[in-house]
């Protein structure tokens, strides 16, 4: 018995030149969980996943995947891990059937019926060439290729990027099927918050290479509260209100999102708003966006995007 974690990263740090793309990441993915890794582009998600899979040497720190140091993953270890790269890379000249043969010959286990089901779900013709597939279909093929090898741990780098709603649904269904009620572990990075809320039971949020959230979805949602105050946003809020994640303008008012609000926090909000604060309900999406918006240099940009 190794540990109860499928992935365990300790102080994982990666510099590219002078910039730390990933900084002191302590990430633990419990066995059997489905974890959504969220973050803006450039937050270090892909870099983290590449380090987990042993394709990039960490500048310092270490990570273990299925109890094995990522830098020393052998063929047997890789057989237990499924990995789809960003953008669902396939060799364009291969037909779907060639892809299957190629994958089958390089993995010890192969579940042909699972492969068949998955590509059917994405409505893919097995004799088609990979280069003629739509993005959604390519996602389907690469997912099918990864799943049919029956890995214990699935690492997906932005599987939903650019997918149409139907393909997204197929992707979610496939993942739910695959995780098999907690017998397998999934780590996926994504930008689609709805899907993550649905599919994942844990959420991890990276901002500027740092891990700010690593918790179950419930705990995450339950620890964040928001108030609306009748004042324009100001940078002093972050000094005045402990635990302030983000303050964003909304129709002349400001929505203040706070983590772990206690009486002290409420008192601070009262003080700031001159007793005109209103509790507002907050969704998972709002909570995540509050974190992600912190990383934006310009707050107005965020407002202009209409979220």
């Amino acid at each position: 018995m190794h540990s109860e974690y499928a992935i365990e990263a300790r102080g994982l740090t990666r510099y590219f030149g002078r910039t730390a793309v990933v900084r002191d990441l302590n990430l633990r993915i419990p066995l059997g969980s489905v974890t959504g890794l969220l973050g803006l582009n450039g937050a270090g998600k892909t870099t983290t996943l590449r380090m987990l899979l042993g394709f990039l040497e960490p500048t310092r720190g270490s990570c273990e995947v299925l109890g094995k140091d990522s830098r020393q993953l052998g063929p047997e270890d890789r057989a237990r891990i499924g990995y789809t790269v960003e953008g669902h890379f396939l060799y364009g000249w291969m037909t779907v059937r060639d892809c299957e043969r190629f994958q089958r010959d390089t993995f010890p286990r192969w579940n042909a019926s699972l492969f068949g089901e998955t590509i059917q779900r994405f409505a893919i013709d097995a004799s088609q060439k990979a280069r003629t597939l739509s993005r959604g279909q390519r996602a389907g093929v690469s997912l099918a290729l990864t799943l049919a090898a029956e890995p214990e741990l699935l690492v997906l780098d932005d599987p939903a990027l650019g997918l149409d709603p139907v393909s997204r649904r197929a992707l979610n269904e496939t993942l739910i099927d695959f995780c098999d009620c907690g017998r397998r572990t999934i780590l996926l990075s994504s930008h689609l918050l709805d899907d993550v809320e649905r599919v994942a039971d844990r959420v991890a949020i990276m901002v500027h290479g740092r891990l700010l959230v690593d918790a179950t979805v419930e705990e995450f949602c339950s620890r964040i509260r928001a108030w609306s105050i009748d004042l324009p946003p100001a940078s002093r809020y972050s000094e005045l209100i402990p635990g302030l994640i983000h303050a964003r303008p909304l129709g002349g008012r400001t929505v203040i999102t706070v983590v772990d609000a206690d009486q002290e926090t409420e008192a601070a909000i009262e003080r700031v708003s001159q007793a005109a604060a209103e509790r507002v309900n907050i969704t998972f999406e709002d909570a995540v966006l509050a974190y992600l918006s912190r990383s934006r240099k310009s707050k107005s940009l965020f407002v202009a995007s209409g979220v």
Binding site: T13, F55, Y83, F89, D105, E219, P242
Partner: protein
Amino acid sequence: MWTIVSKELRELIRLLPVGLLLLGVAVWLSLPRGIQGSPNAALIACCAGLFAVLLAAMQGFFDFSDRQRGFLFHRSLSHARIMYGKVLAALIVYSIAVVLPLGCMAIYFARMGPEYLPVHPIQVLPILAVCLAGFAMHPATLFTIDREAHWLGTRLLPLPLAIAGVFFMAVAIASREYAFDTMFDAIAGVFFMAAIIAAGIPSAIAIGSILLIGLFIVLLLALQREHFARKLVLAGGAVTVVLTAIIFGATLLDSLISSPSASYAEYGIDEEGELWAFQSRYEPSENGYNALRVPVSGGRVESDRAVNLNGTLPEDFNPSSGSNLAPLNANRQTVWYQYGGAIGRKQVFSVPPGIALIYEQGSTPPLQGVVSRSGFHPSAAVVGDPFTGPAFTEGMWASSALTAAGYDTLWVDRKGVYQFDRERGTITALVELPVESATVLVTEDFAAEESADDAKVVRLYVETSTQAYLFKLTAATGEAKWFVSNSENRSRPLPELQAVEERTLPRLPKSLRIAMLGMSADGSLVAFAAHPSLQRAVVANAPGAEWKMEQLMGPDIEVRGSRASAYMVALTPPAALLVGVVSLLIYSAVSDLPSAVTLNNPTDGGVPVLLLVGIVAMVGWSVLVWVLGRRRGFSTSKRVAWSLATLLAGPVGPLLLIALYRPVHREACPRCNHLRQVDRGLCPHCASAWEAVQSEGIEIIDFETRGNWAAVRRTEASSSAPSSR
């Protein structure tokens, strides 16, 4: 793995037409069109190597971007097996691309036959072997692309090794007996120091080279965090880089040395029997394939003082040459055929077993005849396959016969000297040498007496690897045909020769590395050292059996204190300078030659400046390495080691350092505030680990750290809240 091979084959097969085109064009350009064609084995080898690089580059292009790497390498196959698969697939495609055009070439040769071309289809094999050796470029390139390194220099290290390896393979295949010579020259001689070569002290060269190269191998193996095989490849690459830097240094050093002549000094005897040293330039003759030697300057050699080579030759100076005029390169074997020699329009080619094929330019078919052990045959058909028939001579020194004052009648090999009469088709042994198994013919020379309408060989000098001989030849009766060097074909009565007197001579000192050997009309032999700056001569008197060694020219090394030479001193590896000068001094002390090095030049007074420049450069390079090492996060002991090594290696040190290590970013330690490398766990100043990044107070981490950070945040908040208000 076969899955990988077939996938790679499928991708690489697209490149096959490119390879076939590339090599096909190279082969087509290299087809000899006539007996004197210029086959270009190097072109084919380069094209093959280029194709290997192209294959690796395409494989790298297909599979080494981040995404593709993730897709391909995340399988139940080890990284090494996938790489083997790639190499194997590339080898298959490469072999097809190489074998097809060269096969066509062999067929072409077979169709032409010896009547038209002095090339046997079998002779395609060496170039095929060179091409296959050129495949080494593929794994080197692939390895270069595959290495995770952010500075290109580190990645490129395997390439110099592959290039050097392929080069050596090419030399080894083209000419086995010169391969080790070449390697030795490359590593120790040519690449090291022109000055030491001139002094001719192989052991000192070897020791110097081994010291310097060994130092870097040890440094590399000890310091690189790599697998052993990769370490070796990198070390090899680094050594090649070091050698290249030393060539650079030696080339510069060479120009430090005052050399009175730019080309080899040559030697001749004038009509009065005086010995002259002169410098010539070579000009192409009107028929296009024979070089003419035109003396440009020279002076009379007197045995006890330096000759002034800057003097102009007398107008009527026309020394009768005792030296072998055939350009040395022409004697060397190439991959294609052994070029025998040329007199007028006549060409002689010998093939490895020792059969001589005589061709004449312009006639159809060009083959005039074949000389085999049984005599002269007008057609190749008579001897059967002239390329594979019994050897005519053993270890034939191909140029011997034709360049001896115009005779095509004398042939020398390691067993003896033969006279060949074409008219009668006979071969007579003039001299037989006692053959020991290890005997190799080293050199030979003929002394000829020439008058307006007569020319005859009177003395013959033969040196084998075991013994040197001097023969006096006397004329018997008979006639032979001879040819004058420029196009005219003349028939002259020529006496048959007979060796009457044989004298066994002491061998010349090997360390002289003789480039020139001459014989005067009175039978004196003069040997010159190879380097132009060291015009040492050894004079032997014909009646006596002892070599008399004399320095005929000025001192070997005169260091001049010009600005240019200051740059050169700064750029030359100090170890090379030291070993060179010291070995010259030692050699001068133990040998019976006069002093070789003159470090002080009274008219200039620049030597102290040069010494100063040298010392400043040594220290400067070391300091640079110290600073660079700091940026790369070396420990103090490692920096000391590198700086000491750089004291000896000069600019090679910083170059290697930059090539091998990339700078590591440093940040202030949160505890002691000293700068520390970001890739080290512990701070070298205060030994603290990196502290967790400062909490922003908004983290939601539901593992055991949660309680802690929440508590921390509360206390922070409560302590900072009053002050902020």
